[in-house]
């Protein structure tokens, strides 16, 4: 088994502040963390490795500081870590990001075939949830999104069964390898790194790939050039000004108050009134 886990280093949104004067986001001094969703996918991958053996490789595309995020993943038990970093990647949107990552994963596969790729459902800074599906499409892999748990994996028949959270319930899905899974949050708990893995992480020599090492030839597909998305405007939404209404009745009796409230609700929402009448009939 060879599993690749895609992780992204993101600013700890809990600690981001808005500059009170300029109203811009102050990123300086905000600690960087591993995108929280990605830790659930790393843990799920490590559990598969615990059962079936094999290798877990983590990969990120980002600036040199992203090294810290990769090292953290090594401390949790990942075997290898690759930092894909190049000025040419700057300004990438999800199209360009998934292209670069898919190409880099194909490069990893040259060393050892990749059976599964794990992504987080989404990031806490970009929130698009597009990168995982983008990679799967480009690599022609089966795609399982919103996964809450990997139930089983059969290496001989090369099939995997997962639980997928969907509207109205949980779907149990089976597919064949290779496949890409995007994990939901809160589905497992990251292990506490052992002392040996802490030492290994502190001393680990990261693999750093630039564009060429990652196997990317077409520069028009990466970075700003490969990014058709344009962010035309960023604004903070206006707070809704819905005022509370104080309901009163002549007598002030609880029963009268309740009746006044119900008649107000029914006047504003006729459908609700009809439904209630139908139900009671």
């Amino acid at each position: 088994m060879h599993i690749v886990v895609c992780i992204k280093q993101v600013p700890d949104s809990a600690q981001i502040r808005v500059h009170p004067v300029t109203n811009t986001i102050m990123r300086q001094g905000v600690p960087a963390i591993v995108n929280p969703y990605d830790l659930f996918s790393l843990e799920e991958a490590l559990r598969l490795k615990d059962i079936h053996g094999g290798r877990v490789t983590v990969i990120t595309m980002g600036p040199p500081q992203a090294e810290a995020a990769l090292r953290k993943c090594i401390s949790f038990g990942a075997d290898e870590a690759i930092l894909v970093t190049d000025r040419a990647f700057a300004g990438a949107d999800t199209l360009a990001t998934s292209y670069a990552l898919a190409t880099a994963i194909a490069q990893i596969a040259k060393d050892q075939a990749v059976d599964m790729v794990f992504c987080g459902k989404q990031t806490i800074d970009g929130d698009t949830a597009q990168v995982g599906p983008g990679i799967a499409k480009r690599m022609d892999m089966q795609l399982l999104t919103y996964v809450s748990q990997v139930d089983s994996l059969d290496i001989t028949s090369r099939t995997v069964q997962v639980q997928r959270r969907a509207e109205g319930g949980v779907q149990v899905l089976t597919t064949r390898l290779p496949c890409l899974v995007t994990m939901l949050e809160g589905t497992n708990e990251m292990r506490f790194a052992t002392m040996d893995n802490m030492f290994r992480a502190a001393r680990y020599q990261l693999k750093v790939w630039d564009r060429v090492a990652a196997g990317i030839e077409d520069v028009s597909k990466i970075g700003l050039k490969g990014s058709p998305t344009v962010v035309s405007k960023v604004f903070a939404p206006q707070a809704k000004t819905q005022r509370a209404e104080i309901i009163d009745s002549e007598s002030g009796e609880p029963r009268d108050l309740a009746l006044t409230l119900i008649s107000k609700l029914f006047t504003q929402h006729p459908a609700m009134s009809e439904a209630v009448v139908k139900q009671s009939a």
Partner: protein, 432 residues
């Protein structure tokens, strides 16, 4: 299977970083363990950095250390409820490099210092708490951490784990903390635009101002308040003896809230946005509270050894100096291939005795006791001094001679002549 190092340093505050840096630079194999998410993540300080102590470790620290403002003006305020009497000392000498004192933000500073220690070769593991010392008879031979497979061995273990030092207490190297020997301090960082700070404090560029305060802000408890200027923020805080908080049943943040509303302080911090709130203990027992600081295979540095000069608000510099001198002692022994026995490590204490660290602490050894027994220094006197200033300055048709008599009477009325002379003598003894 446990790894073996020459030295293990517990903690990545100023004392631990000074020790780890000095040891690693000399080529020793050093492991540093820090329980916080990153160095400085849990650490609290005012914070004023005294250049001298750091210069002796990293002479060119100014090139890349995260420094806020160099201090050119020191204000000392004695506060009453409505007013303050103060001295301001400002000198252009302090505005010429190399600067003597800086304000810093510890989270950033500790990260930088730790980075230097790592570059020098120390191996740092964060989010790793040392839970016990590993003993071989009466010798410390390593540490046990909270992680699976977490024991690590070393020839010497340096405890740089701060004022609480659970480890030193557990091992019996130090007694339980006495509430009369520690202060509890709270502080806040308020964000404020650079230009506002500059105009409010009459400074330009990266120069800064420090205000130290005593008086009724501490409600009769032994303690002080402070307000420091950073690049784009102000630090404001107050600290009192833990035993006093217990006795007076005042909460520290209530004290800080009231201090922020003092009519002389409020306009200085107005419009700021609170960014951070922190509380921490400060060891203030002084010379008499210093425990045994070395033994078979172990040493104690920094706050863990109670090395704080409360009178001059010096702590981080003593932490760095004790860390450096501990490391130098180890290096000398290692060079001569001598074991790290209590007998050989006694050189550490001797070096400290000969340095400013012990000399200063010894000078003020009676201070904590005197202030403990005489709360009038924090209540009656600030009030009287402020009243005197008010009486002299107010123009109201009363002749100056009568005013002088009034002031004199107010002092002897509140505190007998005998008491006044006694207090003067006590102060002289404390500072002698």
């Amino acid at each position: 299977m446990a790894e073996k190092f020459d030295a293990i340093v517990v903690g990545a505050g100023p004392s631990g970083n000074a020790a780890a840096y000095t040891l690693a630079k000399s080529g020793l194999k050093v492991l540093q363990l820090e329980r916080g998410e990153y160095p400085g993540s849990k650490n609290v300080q005012g914070a004023i950095l005294y250049s001298d102590a750091l210069e002796r470790i990293i002479p060119d620290f100014r090139e890349d250390a995260p420094l806020e403002r160099h201090i050119i003006e020191q204000r000392m305020w004695v506060l009453d409820d409505e007013s303050f009497v103060g001295t301001h000392y400002r000198s252009d000498e302090f505005n010429k490099p190399p600067y003597n004192r800086y304000t810093i933000i510890r989270a950033q500073f500790d990260k930088w210092f730790s980075q230097k220690a790592q570059e020098a070769g120390a191996l740092l593991l964060c989010e790793t708490t040392v839970s016990d010392l590993i003993m071989d008879g009466d010798r410390v031979v390593g540490v046990q951490t909270d992680r699976l497979g977490g024991s690590v061995h070393a020839d010497i273990v340096i405890l740089a784990d701060g004022v609480n030092s659970v480890l030193a207490r557990k091992a019996g190297f130090r007694p339980e903390l006495n509430p009369g020997d520690v202060a509890l301090a709270v502080k806040e960082i308020h964000f404020m635009p650079e230009e506002t700070i500059q105009s409010r404090f009459n400074i330009s560029g990266e120069s800064g101002v420090v205000i130290e305060m005593v008086g009724k802000i501490t409600k009769g408890m032994m303690g002080t308040g402070f307000l420091y200027t950073n690049k784009e923020s102000l630090t404001i805080g107050v600290g009192c003896m833990l035993s006093d908080f217990k006795k007076q049943k005042v909460s520290p943040n209530q004290l800080l809230e009231e201090m922020k509303n003092h009519p002389s302080i409020k306009p200085l911090i107005e419009g700021g946005e609170m960014k951070e709130y922190a509380a921490h203990l400060i060891p203030e027992g002084g010379y008499k509270a210093i425990p045994q600081i070395y033994g078979e295979g172990w040493m104690i540095v920094g706050d863990s050894g109670m090395f704080v000069n409360a009178v001059h608000r010096e702590g981080s510099n003593l932490a760095m100096t004790t860390g450096r001198i501990a490391a130098e002692t180890i290096i000398e022994l290692a060079e001569k291939q001598k074991p790290f026995s209590a007998r050989n490590l006694a050189a550490y204490r001797e070096k400290l005795d000969a340095s400013f660290v012990m000399k200063d602490l010894k000078k003020y050894r009676n201070m904590p006791g005197i202030f403990h027994r005489n709360p009038q220094f924090f209540t009656t006197y600030p009030e009287l001094v402020n009243q005197a200033a008010h009486t002299m300055i107010k123009v109201d048709g009363i002749d100056k001679k009568t005013k002088e008599r009034e002031i004199r009477n107010s002092f002897t009325h509140r505190r007998s002549l005998f008491g006044l002379m006694g207090d003067a003598f006590k102060m002289w003894r404390a500072f002698e």
